[in-house]
């Protein structure tokens, strides 16, 4: 594919939203309204089709963040405390509180737009847990994206969205982010977006660590395989300060198909045991004292629940079972009337299957293919491979400004959710240290960032300039893998095996192998050390050099090439921060064998910044305020 055949398309706008998931939709929804009042343009760019893009593409069976503030049972402060505890003290209270105080509004909008929310007999939301509500969420994303598109429509010509455009690279001029470069995955077009403000909402990162399944099941990651580290790459390369790059998330899910466990643990009150039937949360409770004060709070932080389970496996006590059959038996046991008990049984069965069919259909297939009926048979659970997802129980992302009225001075620099680079904003999985946003919180954070970004545009009305020579340079860079392939393909008769290049697929496998074996992946029980990390970092430098030799034979491979460049940078920031933090704080996510305990002087944020002009990484601590 000849790169000189590519047309250059330049799009000028005021606010540029990158991504199409929950945070992007929240941003488009909110920004359109304020843009309309202030004569600003809003443009959204998505690599997929908005109605099924992002982590909610498949649907969800619950909304994991709803406070119900109007009922007076929960407070914003309660939520902040819960999040801090779950992350072993490492969270930005200002950011978490900002999302929490607005999130109910988003959920109420979802319901009005058409999302079916479970209700009890009095018409109240059915709670799955203290912060979670149950939904019939197969079409959650369709509904939310429709609202976002309709909001953009209200802007008339000043509102637009582009689908199937992959964003590769940020465009920075002096100290300000002024645009993004990418390409169409459907036609031979290079895209350059110029904007006054850019909001990065391109999701978390998957397939950086080697997954447990490496055949067809490679795609069955818990978080979607199409979330490939684009968010982190964009902010890192723009020179923004990053935070919590060490805080990966290792979810415990139903084994292999990775079906959700939340409804089973919270709604059905199910227990998990080792193969001998022992409840390790009880038998190993003593271990939790070592991780006090966080080890002794209730609920036990997710990473410590993982840790106790991993100990069982270490000692050969697997498999680990979720006792769905006992949970259902107990829920029905209290019903004396036989007919009523039967009805309840039917209801529970339907709820159990819906939980999977709404959000992880493969798990339903897994049950059906193993002839598992949850009311009769327990199911195996397991720790997945590590992911980067600050909207859940990970925390990696850009270091952003908090809100004027909640943030301490050190955390406030003019606009909510603006990174340390002027004009560059982040939300959802792109912003760090504000975990447990989930779908509703990500949408809400997108709204917060969207409004703030419009304020930035209004305050900075001057035109944005990008030199023609810079545009040409970006075009060469973005289309680079196509040129490499074009130049060398004739040398060997195998399209994939050629000494002059590497295809993105093998590049990804190489990255996964390094990360798994040196950075504490699943196959080594999530254990790592300084010596291993340094070796891993050394291997990543070869990968960085080889990334210039990524080759793409078509647009799809060009996208895969860039996805893996993005993954590589997320991986490097991860290893560097793992090395920097000389302690073990989240033992169920990763364990530093050379620093096996939690240390008081590390109760700080571990931040980093890549300097685009010198190419140097700087690591530093920031206090928890």
């Amino acid at each position: 594919m000849k790169t000189d055949s590519f047309e250059t398309v330049i799009v000028e706008t005021d606010l540029l939203i990158l991504g199409g998931g929950m945070a992007a939709c929240g941003a488009a929804y909110e920004a359109s309204f304020w843009a309309n009042k202030h004569g600003q343009r809003v443009t959204l760019v998505d690599k997929a089709a908005m109605e099924r893009s992002g982590a909610v593409a498949m649907g969800l069976s619950a909304i994991n963040l709803y406070l119900g503030l109007k009922n007076g049972k929960n407070t914003v402060e309660d939520y902040v405390q819960y999040v801090k505890n779950d992350l072993m003290g490492i969270a930005r209270a200002d950011l978490v509180a900002n999302i929490a105080r607005h999130v109910d509004s988003s959920v109420h909008l979802f319901e009005k737009w058409g999302l079916p929310v479970w209700k009890d007999r009095e018409g109240n939301y059915v709670k799955e847990g203290r912060w979670q509500i149950m939904i019939h969420g197969e079409s959650y994303k369709n509904i939310v994206s429709e609202a976002a598109k309709n909001a953009l429509k209200e802007l008339g010509e000043a509102g637009s969205y582009y689908e199937r455009i992959f964003i590769s690279e940020p465009v920075v001029f002096e100290d300000r982010c002024v645009g993004a470069a990418g390409f169409s995955v459907r036609e031979n077009k290079f895209y350059l977006f110029k904007a006054k403000a850019i909001l990065d909402t391109m999701g978390g990162a998957v397939h950086i660590f080697r997954p447990r399944s490496v055949g067809e099941g490679l795609g069955r990651s818990w978080y979607p395989p199409f979330n490939s580290g684009a968010s982190a790459y964009f902010t890192i390369r723009a020179g923004a300060e990053m935070t919590c790059q060490e805080v990966r998330f290792v979810p415990v899910r139903f084994k292999d198909a990775y079906g959700p466990v939340g409804a089973w643990f919270l709604l059905f009150k199910s227990k998990a045991t080792n193969a001998k039937g022992e409840d390790y949360m009880v038998t190993r409770a003593g271990e939790l004292d070592k991780w006090a004060p966080y080890g002794t709070v209730k609920p036990t932080p997710a990473n410590l629940r993982n840790y106790l389970m991993l100990k069982e496996l270490e000692e050969g006590n697997g498999p680990i079972y979720m006792h769905t059959e006992e949970a259902i038996r107990e829920l029905v046991a209290g019903i004396p009337d036989e007919k009523e008990a039967k009805r309840k049984m039917k209801e529970l069965e339907s709820e159990a299957w819906e939980d999977f069919l709404d959000m992880t259909i493969s798990q339903a297939l897994h049950w059906a293919s193993h002839n598992i009926m949850p009311e009769e048979t327990p199911s195996e659970i397991s720790a997945c491979e590590p992911y980067f997802i600050s909207s859940h129980s990970g925390a990696s992302g850009a270091w952003i400004s908090g809100p004027d009225d909640l943030a301490p001075d050190e955390h406030y620099w003019g606009y909510d959710n603006m990174t340390t680079v002027k004009g560059l904003f982040a939300a959802g999985d792109a912003s760090g240290a504000s975990s447990h946003k989930f779908s509703s919180g990500s949408f809400t954070e997108g709204r917060i960032a969207g409004k703030a970004a419009i304020a930035f545009c209004v305050d900075h009305p001057g035109p944005v300039e990008i030199q023609q020579a810079r545009i040409e340079e970006l075009k060469q860079q973005v289309l680079g893998p196509l040129a490499v392939y074009e130049e060398h393909q004739g040398y060997a008769n195998d399209p994939d095996v050629n000494p002059h290049f590497i295809k993105p697929r093998m590049f990804m496998f190489r990255l996964q192998k390094i990360m798994d074996e040196y950075a504490g992946g699943a196959s080594v029980g999530f254990r790592t050390s300084e010596a291993l990390l340094k070796k891993g970092l050394e291997y990543l430098q070869y990968m960085k050099e080889d990334s210039l030799k990524l080759a793409a034979s078509d647009l799809n491979e060009l996208m895969r090439s860039w996805e893996n460049i993005h993954r590589l940078w997320q991986a490097e920031s991860h290893i560097r921060t793992l090395l920097f933090r000389e302690e073990t704080r989240w033992p169920g996510y990763y364990f530093r064998t050379d620093h096996p305990t939690m240390k008081q002087d590390w109760e700080v944020f571990a931040n980093c910044r890549f300097d685009p002009s010198s190419g140097e990484w700087n690591m530093f601590k920031r206090p928890i305020l």
Partner: protein
């Protein structure tokens, strides 16, 4: 799948609005062939490449850009099954029900089928076990007509201040 099973499926209402009567018959006939299919795959006979539509539905929707239309055969295919999340977006959108999912062969025994019928307000699932037991579930998916969303949903916004920590539709929408 027996005739009685098919009858049961058809008794669920409403069926997808875009499917006309002829297509229902087509579906009934094809259910009989719903045998042991093997991540998302396209049934050659049923795929018409969305000839009558302005775009290939599965190619339009796949979040990972896996579905492609083979111009020569006029049929769609999944170009990288091991990058497939099994999200079923293609299965749900396919106008001819030509796409099914065979569980990842590296950890699922053969023989199970999980197939949806998605309409405007509900989704109906047929789950067939390896041992041939069949379970059916029906869930609501949306309470409003598609395309009808009004962004503000009747709420008004309590401020004009671009710098105030009040979002669109607040404070009304906080109260519901």
């Amino acid at each position: 799948m027996t005739r009685a099973d098919i009858k049961l499926i058809l008794n669920f209402r409403p069926l997808p609005i875009y499917r006309n009567f002829a297509k229902i018959i087509y579906y009934v006939c094809d259910c009989q062939k719903l045998s042991f299919h093997m991540p998302s795959f396209v049934i050659t006979e049923k795929c018409d490449g969305c000839r009558a539509l302005d775009r290939t539905a599965c190619q339009y929707i796949c979040p990972n850009d896996l579905m492609v239309l083979d111009r020569e055969t006029g049929k769609a295919f999944n170009r990288a099954v091991d990058m497939c999340w099994e999200c079923y977006s293609c299965v749900k959108i396919c106008p001819t029900q030509a796409i099914e999912v065979r569980g990842y062969a590296d950890f699922m025994p053969l023989g199970a089928v999980v197939q949806p019928l998605r309409s405007s307000g509900t989704i109906m699932w047929a789950v067939r076990f390896r041992n041939r037991m069949v379970k059916r579930f029906k869930f609501p998916i949306r309470t409003t007509p598609e395309g009808s969303i009004v962004p503000d949903a009747g709420f008004s916004t309590g401020t004009e201040d671009l710098k105030a920590p009040v979002l669109r539709t607040e404070p009304e929408s906080l109260e519901r």
